[in-house]
């Protein structure tokens, strides 16, 4: 058995992201479909609000669905790559004794199960939250919209994503397995020859080991930088958006966005840093054995991700500002009850401060985790 069910369930990040995406899409799509049925009851006064709400539902589903699906795909591919890299020898042995790439790759379908679990939970929670959502979307002058069940939703939101993600897993695994058995058995992670930089460029400056380590760790795990940035992006965007939404419209939606943002941020950051430490456990152990201080190891591992965190945070701030401006000025432009939106400086600073505290805390926790790596145990694993 190459990949077990356990490996799939370990993809907590994918489970959470599919949960969030399906959760949001479930009630908005359901609301959209149910709202269409009362179209004939819409009057002159209520039309603007009614159309704005339909647009919001479409808009939110499209944005959160596509963004989160894209993130989940990147995460999946990253995980499979990491999985193959850390099981090179075992997989190499399978190939050596005659398993074909296709046969091994087919086992990777189980990585779709994480999506299935997340989507199913998200769908169920979406349904559970529906009465509250419908109530908060109630329009004065229109009857309460009844909650209906639409069979197409579980097909689109659970079955289809699971199938697509399983297919992507197998396909990517097949692609990633196409390399010489001998290099897999030797544990050669990178199978493309590296481009030789011109000699003069490398000769010029002598960098310290910690600098090189920092740089190469980042270079070897670029996708982690992406997840760190994404974590900070979703924290910044969704916390600020949640706070502004609270002032603009219903409190419930604001709080929901806020919670989703924090959960996404914590899970992606947790995932990124955990896999960083896991992939580098041996390197950290060796540095510790040689007498590098905990702080130096932490610096070499974690410091290079700080710029990405800040970039993610900045993009998130701009993103939520643009998105809310668009919503208020275009979608809700004819609705009198929606106040003007302007960028909130206090909210920005509160978000930034809480973000810095959380980020520093995460760094401290992971530095502590690194200090718990037993040098001898890591070395005994071989």
């Amino acid at each position: 058995m190459v990949v077990s069910l356990k490996d799939s369930i370990k993809l907590l990040g994918i489970i959470v992201i599919s949960f969030c995406a399906v959760f949001v899409c479930t009630f908005f799509l359901n609301f959209y479909l149910d709202a269409l049925e009362i179209e004939n009851l819409v009057t002159e006064q209520t039309r603007a609000m009614y159309e704005a709400q339909l647009a919001t539902a479409e808009f939110t589903c499209a944005i959160s669905g596509s963004v989160l699906a894209a993130i989940a795909i990147v995460m999946l591919v990253f995980y499979i790559k990491l999985y193959i890299d850390s099981h090179l020898k075992q997989i190499g042995i399978l190939k050596a004794i005659g398993y074909s790439n296709g046969k091994i790759a087919a086992r990777f379908w189980v990585f779709g199960i994480g999506v299935f679990i997340g989507a199913t939970l998200g769908f169920a929670s979406g349904y559970a939250a529906m009465p509250m959502i419908y109530k908060s979307l109630l329009i004065d002058g229109l009857p309460q919209i009844e909650i209906g069940f639409h069979l197409v939703l579980p097909l689109v939101l659970i079955v289809a994503p699971t199938a697509v993600f399983s297919a992507i897993s197998c396909g990517y695994a097949y692609f990633a397995l196409r390399r010489p058995v001998s290099s897999m058995l030797r544990g050669q992670v990178r199978f493309k020859p590296e481009k030789q930089k011109s000699k003069t460029a490398t000769k010029n400056k002598e960098h310290s080991f910690l600098f090189v380590m920092c740089f190469k760790t980042l270079g070897g795990k670029k996708s982690l930088a992406f997840f760190v940035a994404f974590a900070c992006f979703s924290y910044s965007a969704m916390v600020q958006m949640g706070c502004s939404m609270k002032r603009l419209s219903t409190g419930f939606m604001g709080i929901m966005i806020l919670i989703i943002g924090v959960v996404l941020a914590v899970v992606s950051l947790f995932m990124a840093l955990t896999s960083l430490i896991k992939a580098n456990a041996k390197n950290i152990a060796i540095m510790r054995a040689f007498g590098y201080k905990m702080k130096e190891c932490a610096l070499a591992m974690l410091f290079c991700y700080v710029p990405f965190a800040l970039i993610g945070f900045s993009i998130g701030t701009v993103y939520q500002f643009v998105l809310l401006s668009l919503m208020v000025n275009i979608v809700y432009k004819d609705v009198a009850s929606v106040p003007d939106y302007s960028f909130s400086v206090p909210v920005f600073f509160i978000t930034l401060a809480s973000f810095l505290i959380l980020y520093t805390a995460a760094m401290a926790i992971y530095t502590y985790k690194m200090s718990k790596i037993s040098v001898k145990e890591v070395m005994a694993e071989n």
């Binding site: 290099s183 030797r186 544990g187 050669q188 992670v189 990178r190 030789q196 002598e206 310290s208 080991f209 910690l210 090189v212 380590m213 190469k216 760790t217 270079g219 070897g220 041996k282 390197n283 152990a285 060796i286 540095m287 510790r288 054995a289 040689f290 007498g291 590098y292 201080k293 905990m294 200090s371 037993s374 040098v375 001898k376 070395m379 071989n382």
Partner: protein, 228 residues
């Protein structure tokens, strides 16, 4: 001088007794070899002596410092200033070049001449190679360069020639012992190979967690004189 006194060490909360009251003394500048069957506790003893692990009881005194009484920070500093390791399984950083792997050790001692050491272990054209592009023997030589670049006062070697053929094994041992006489560091080597013991000043024999024999060797042989 390293002085270990009644070291006990067990794993799985006492279920596996590995070291059962080991006491020994190794003088400064000595070349000590620890011999013993597989599973007799040689590697465990080495990691206790070098401050990688704490014993359950007993003391390890290094000069006048009791390393068993140190906290983690002091132990890290101790390893940083005094100790070099050469491991049986290499433990090179796979994503870094030979040069940068050696720099890991060199930087700790502020050693700028580490490239000479790489050349001396016979890896002149391999500065930019990755460990996976090297043979087993070449990887072991990178480990040696990494440990020596740190200018250790005491060098711990766990089966340094386990993966090498006779010719490379002899060359590596010869190189290490020449450096040892140049710089005068202390060397503690774990090995299965009885012949290598003939190169040492002090031979320590272990059997299931206890020291069964210690003897001095007054006329050590060179790496090319011993059998293999």
């Amino acid at each position: 001088m390293i002085k270990a006194h009644k070291i006990y060490k067990s794993f799985q909360s006492g279920a596996v007794q590995v070291l059962k009251g080991v006491s020994l003394e190794i003088a400064d500048g000595d070349f000590a070899v620890i011999l013993g069957a597989s599973g007799s506790g040689k590697s465990t003893l080495m990691s206790v002596l070098s401050g990688l692990e704490r014993p359950d009881s007993g003391t390890v005194v290094f000069g006048n410092q009791d390393i068993t009484a140190m906290n983690d920070k002091q132990l890290t500093e101790f390893r940083r200033d005094k100790v070099g390791f050469i491991f049986q399984q290499y433990y090179l950083l796979s994503h870094l070049s030979v040069e940068n792997n050696v720099k890991l050790g060199a930087d700790l001692a502020g050693n700028k001449n580490f490239r000479e050491i790489i050349e001396q272990v016979g890896l002149k054209g391999k500065f930019k190679s990755k460990p996976s592009e090297l043979s087993g023997g070449e990887q072991q030589r990178v480990c040696i360069a990494r440990a020596l670049a740190k200018n250790p006062e005491i060098l711990f070697l766990d089966e340094p020639t386990g993966a090498l053929d006779e010719k490379t094994g002899r060359e590596v041992l010869d190189y290490i012992s020449r450096l040892k006489s140049e710089r005068g560091f202390t060397m503690i080597m774990v090995t299965h190979n009885e012949n290598i013991a003939q190169m040492a000043n002090t031979v320590i024999r272990m059997n299931s967690g206890e020291i069964t024999e210690v003897y001095k060797n007054n006329s050590p042989k060179t790496a090319f004189e011993i059998g293999w």
